[in-house]
Amino acid sequence: MRLRNVWNLGIKELRGLWRDPAMLLLIVYAFSLSIYTESKAMPESLSNAAIAVVDEDRSTLSERIVSAFTPPYFGTPRLISTTEMDRRMDEGLDTFALDIPPDFQRDLLAGRHPAIQLNVDATRMSQAFTGSGYVQQIVSAEVQEFLAGHREDTALPVELALRARYNPALDAGWFGAINSVIDAVTMLSIILTGAALIREKEHGTVEHLLVMPVTAAEIMLSKIWSMGLVVLLASSFAITVVVQMALQVPVAGSVPLFIAAAALMLFATTSMGIFLATVAGSMPQFGLLLMLVLFPLQVLSGGMTPRESMPDIIQAVMSLAPNTHFVILSQGILFRGAGLGVVWPQLLALALIGAVLFWLALRQFRRFLA
């Protein structure tokens, strides 16, 4: 192993990338506009939820309930008839449909314990749970307020002071921004190393290297450092300029620590890229493999839905993926201000996963060259 070869071959990789304007443009897009758009698109968990009300009561109370649904959580409620309700839900126009029965107000005042029906489109799971909670609260509050004028107040004066830490307004865009950086890091590092390797194979330049005094490990390391560096620079730009400045996401912890962690992450993902390229024989096969690997990495690493809610088996499998650990430590460092003392288990996991992937890739790469 000679570091000079690793250095020189890496420079070659960088020069090659520099000659591919389409790729450069895509990198810039992936680490700027794409992240910005994705973060800005993110709704609050419950934002502008589509709700319709079937008001069969048409009383003061029912009207108060209808007018209580306001943005940002809910869209302006649409008043519909019972017959419309099913059709609208079928077409996916409404996520929630509240059915206030006839004589609701009268029955309520008479203590007859009336029931309001809330229909929830449970296929939209992200809104189904939180949304029905909100609906419950809003309706209860209106009913309580309405009743306040009709009965003596016996409610207990206990208030619940809820405070969300690290992201007080629970702005989903903060979390989304970080996740899109992580997704871009994964995508790009795997593609840059993997596709470049297959290209070299298809153009016969890998074979050429083998008659020179360079070893497989040197070739691999050169790709890892050079492409890793590119992605590292791009992600540093994304974190500081796009996330902190353009998106105004406050970063609680140390950005250098995050960058260092990203370097470890890149060691793992670039090795993975090489591994996938050596497993795939041709670019079309690599393209397919890539999709089949990236998709679960993106969806199941805890960036899209909370990791706790995944079945144990999925959690166990995903703990082998570098992304999972990187998502955990990014949240820790960037939002909770966690330091090395807190995130070291994830760093260790990343290093271990990286080492195993590197070893696998190197073994496979030697076979690929033979």
Partner: protein
């Protein structure tokens, strides 16, 4: 041949110039090429022969000047479409426009279909062409497994399948052995006898071939030096052969110092052996590429290797460099057995492989620099050495150019410079001068002579050129993996009583092969095919579909990945995404420590959502534990909680939620609020009896479509659309960009295929594959994962068909403006995975998204298919209910395809 009295020229070129970035390829060329003749373009590489031919063929956009071919302007797309069925173009490079996984007959069949021939017509033509070229025995062999000569014959057959009036051949015999070369030109001559009206324009690097042509165009540096018959050119220059005539035609500046090469005879040395092959044998499966080859090369000797393509020369050389491990036998360098892992040996050997294998993304200087450094040269030395090599190999003018912009000859010089950069003792050169012009070849051999005689470098070189072979100290003739003879050139000629080495070689080859089958004359000139059917022909379109599905069928790994991989993913993701958060850890900071406060906490701890962890002592602990991410929720109960409550004075319970993950935080917030309200209700009832909760009501929540709120039921119908987006899109993108990168896109440029035929033809097999995938996934979802399917299967299937039509078209759209496979892949991932997973309603309904993301979501096909899919699976919907989704999906296909057709170029730029 009966020359018609001055027929109009087949091509007229006026003031044509062409540049690639900074390099001028053609510089104001004007020329009238006579019709019905055999016209040759001669000249060194990189003088613009290939550029001129591709312009005449209509494969490249004319930058400046006018070109009229077959009576019309080639800048006019309409004229090009009209006449392209009358032109056949065979680009440079062995089998560059062939499809390697397709068999000989399938390749021909593809071209026949492109030109609109019916099945009977195709069969007749294919049989006739194969018989005429002696290729009939190989009709089922994949093109990738043909030798170079056979590839060129197949290329010629493909070019001739539609009876062109103008045949354009770009260096068809470069890199082909002498016997195959002879056969090739005999074939052309025979075809011209059968079709006397046909014009042939060909570029060649072999002057002895050009001597047999009717009319020659000598080119240099993007300009025409002279035109005329070979006899005229010889007469004008007073030279005895065309090689010399050409050199005489060159401007003084380039000719200066040129004299024929001669290498002084080798002084008898002590006979130290540099390279030795002992019974080398190489088998690939049941095919023996090299069969028991032995030879010995002395130090400082120039040893030549001659043989047809595919005879085992390259394989033998690779075994000697350690790139391949022999099946039997041993290779010895410097008297020791070759050890491929020994880095020291690599320092003593320089290797130049047949295909240009330097980095096309690095400039000439950067390539040299990189290799110097890889061979461990000191930084100070590198610049000097690189400078020397640039000087010695005449690369000064192009030192900062990219190799792709350079002609083959110069690239080969660069390859040699790279192979010699570390001053090796042995040089192994695999056809270093293929396609290099005579002046450059002479210069090249002078360098070899010097290296051998002065520096004592051992040179092992393979070549096709007989005059080069004669410069070697000894040569070996190889055929079909065996060495036929090994001796000096003189001795070989004497043994066969031949006048030239070429004849001797052909004699040896014929002896080895046996008699050639007598050539079958081409069947009676068939009628010209029906004029191409307008702007859209089903047959042409289907020819691309057939091509694509054949290639797909030959790649079972890709098929399996697409089908099985997506099933696994559907399950893993459908099962893995779950919005129902459970088992969240929480801790309490209870400053009251009374029964009441414990009662409050018990409500939370007892729920299925939360798991209580060790209580907190103070805020610091809360901070620390929350920072590690271990706590989703911390509850603080103030001192005097029970007392104040009993007194009826206001109290406040504090709840801190980890907001790092907002989705999770919202859910936690909802749970806590609900539990808090319940607890108050219960306490009120305990304190005041039912009376107090008069006015109570109930909110009955019905989770529709998915009553148990199971994630598989909710997610599988949304994951299917995503997989039907990602996989088909990546497949179609690569199918087009791959042709661009590997060169077969030329067939699209020069045949009557229109953009839409090409795109839709490529798309159809992938639509079929995606539908198969769809059927499998739906069946698995229903039968294996028990996701209830309640709607109309017909409606769902039709929606899926429209949807995969749109997603495959998206892949085509990306491919229409991307050139490298890597960038195309990245673009596809970016443009499908992000909108698909984020903006299409997988988790958050599109209606609640904001900004640009929402706008994308509204029009993105996946959004509409997710609605259709969820509707069909869970909501019992059919045609009537899905009208909106159908309309959106149906509109997407023509829009995306139309855009792709607009962006796709029908000519190279």
């Amino acid at each position: 041949m009966t020359a018609l009295p001055d027929p109009p020229p087949v091509a007229e070129i006026a003031g044509v110039s062409l540049r690639y970035r900074k390099v001028v390829a053609l510089d104001g060329v004007s020329l009238a090429i006579p019709a019905g003749r055999m016209v040759g373009l001669i000249g060194p590489d990189g003088v613009g022969k290939s550029s001129l031919l591709s312009l005449i063929a209509g494969a490249r956009v004319i930058q400046q000047g006018r070109i009229r071919v077959l009576g019309g302007d080639m800048a006019d797309a309409h004229h090009r479409a009209q006449i392209c069925p009358r032109i056949a173009y065979m680009p440079q490079g062995l089998g560059r426009n062939l499809y390697p996984t397709l068999s000989v007959a399938e390749n021909l069949d593809f071209f026949g279909r492109l030109f609109g021939h019916g099945p009977a017509e195709r069969a007749r033509r294919i049989d006739a062409l194969l018989a005429a070229t002696g290729m009939s025995p190989f009709r089922d062999r994949p093109a990738a497994k043909l030798s170079g000569g056979m590839k060129q014959k197949l290329g010629l057959c493909c070019a001739l399948i539609h009876d062109p009036d103008l045949l354009i051949l770009d260096e068809p015999t470069t890199g082909v052995d002498p016997l195959s070369r002879r056969q090739f030109w005999e074939l052309i001559a025979r075809i011209r006898r059968d079709r006397p009206g046909m014009s042939v324009i060909t570029a060649t690097a072999y002057m002895e071939e050009a001597a047999g042509f009717d009319w020659l165009v000598a080119m240099d540096a993007g300009r025409v030096l002279a035109t005329g018959s070979p006899a005229e050119l010889l007469a004008r220059t007073g030279a005895e052969d065309l090689d010399r005539a050409f050199i005489a035609l060159l401007p003084d500046s380039e000719r200066r110092g040129h004299e024929p090469v001669s290498i002084p005879p080798r002084r008898a040395e002590d006979g130290e052996t540099a390279i030795e092959a002992r019974h080398l044998t190489m088998r690939f499966g049941d095919f023996t590429a090299v069969d028991n080859v032995s030879f010995r090369i002395d130090k400082g000797e120039i040893f030549g290797f001659l043989g047809s393509n595919g005879c085992g020369k390259t394989t033998t050389m690779k075994m000697l460099t350690g790139l391949l491990e022999p099946s039997e036998g041993t290779a010895r360098l410097f008297g020791a057995e070759l050890d491929p892992s020994d880095m020291a040996v690599r320092h003593r050997v320089g290797f130049m492989s047949q295909s240009f294998s330097l980095y096309s993304e690095l400039t000439v200087r950067q390539n040299l620099d990189l290799h110097a450094r890889l061979f461990g040269m000191e930084a100070g030395q590198v610049t000097d050495r690189v400078g020397q090599m640039i000087e010695r190999f005449g690369l000064a003018g192009v030192a900062d150019e990219l190799p792709d912009a350079l002609p083959l000859g110069i690239r080969q010089r660069l390859s040699l410079a790279v192979a010699m950069i570390h001053g090796p003792e042995i040089l192994i050169l695999d056809e270093p001068t293929s396609g290099v012009d005579p002046v450059a070849r002479d210069a090249f051999w002078r360098i070899l002579g010097e290296l051998s005689r002065h520096d004592g470098v051992t040179i092992f070189v393979s070549t096709h050129f007989m005059n080069e072979a004669e410069l070697c100290d000894r040569i070996s003739l190889m055929h079909a993996g065996r060495v036929l003879v090994s001796d000096t050139a003189e001795a070989i000629k004497r043994a066969k009583g031949a006048a030239t080495l070429d004849d001797a070689f052909v004699a040896y080859l014929q002896e080895a092969i046996g008699d050639e089958p007598p050539p079958v004359p081409l069947a009676d000139a068939p009628e010209a095919p029906a004029a191409p059917g307008g702007w859209f022909s089903l047959r042409r379109m289907l020819s691309y579909s057939r091509l694509e599905s054949l290639q797909l069928r030959r790649d079972p790994i890709r098929l399996t990945l697409a089908l099985v991989g997506s099933l696994i993913l559907m399950f893993v993701i459908g099962y893995g995404i779950n919005m129902d958060v459970e088992d969240l850890s929480f801790a309490v900071l209870d400053r009251d420590q009374t029964t009441t406060s414990r009662d409050y906490v018990l409500d939370i701890a007892g729920s299925r959502y939360f798991t209580e962890t060790e209580p907190l002592a103070d805020y610091e602990q809360m901070d620390a534990r929350m920072r590690t991410g271990q706590l989703a929720l911390a509850v603080e109960i103030p001192p005097g909680f029970a007392r104040d409550l009993a007194r009826g004075s206001p109290v406040q319970v504090g709840a801190w939620i980890d907001g790092a993950n907002p989705t999770r935080a919202e859910t936690v917030q909802g749970y806590v609020q609900g539990m808090h309200a319940d607890w108050i209700m219960r306490k009120t009832r305990e304190a005041h009896g039912d009376q107090a909760v008069q006015g109570d009501f109930e909110l009955v929540t019905r989770f529709r479509y998915n009553p148990d709120v199971k994630s598989l039921v909710a997610m599988v119908p949304a994951v299917i659309p995503l997989l039907l987006l990602l996989i088909p899109a990546v497949l179609t993108t690569l199918s087009v960009v791959r042709e661009k990168e590997l060169g077969s896109i030329i067939n699209f440029y020069v045949t009557p295929v229109t953009r839409l035929e090409f795109l839709i033809g490529k798309q159809l097999p992938y639509v079929a594959l995606a539908m198969l995938n769809f059927a499998l996934m739906t069946a698995f979802a229903v039968f294996a994962f028990r996701v209830p399917f309640t709607g109309s299967l017909t409606a769902f299937t039709l929606a899926a068909l429209l949807y995969v039509g749109a997603t495959t078209a998206m892949g085509l759209l990306i491919s229409s403006f991307m050139r490298s496979q890597a960038a195309a892949l990245f673009a596809t991932v970016l443009l499908t995975m992000i909108p698909g997973a984020q903006y299409s309603g997988l988790l958050d309904p599109v209606s609640s998204l904001q900004g640009v993301g929402r706008a994308i979501g509204e029009v993105y096909p996946t959004t509409h298919f997710i609605i259709a899919s969820r509707g069909a699976f869970s909501k019992g919907l059919g045609f009537d209910d899905l009208g909106m989704a159908f309309a959106a999906l149906a509109a997407a296909i023509p829009v995306i395809l139309g855009l792709s057709a607009l962006l796709l170029r029908k000519q190279a730029k």
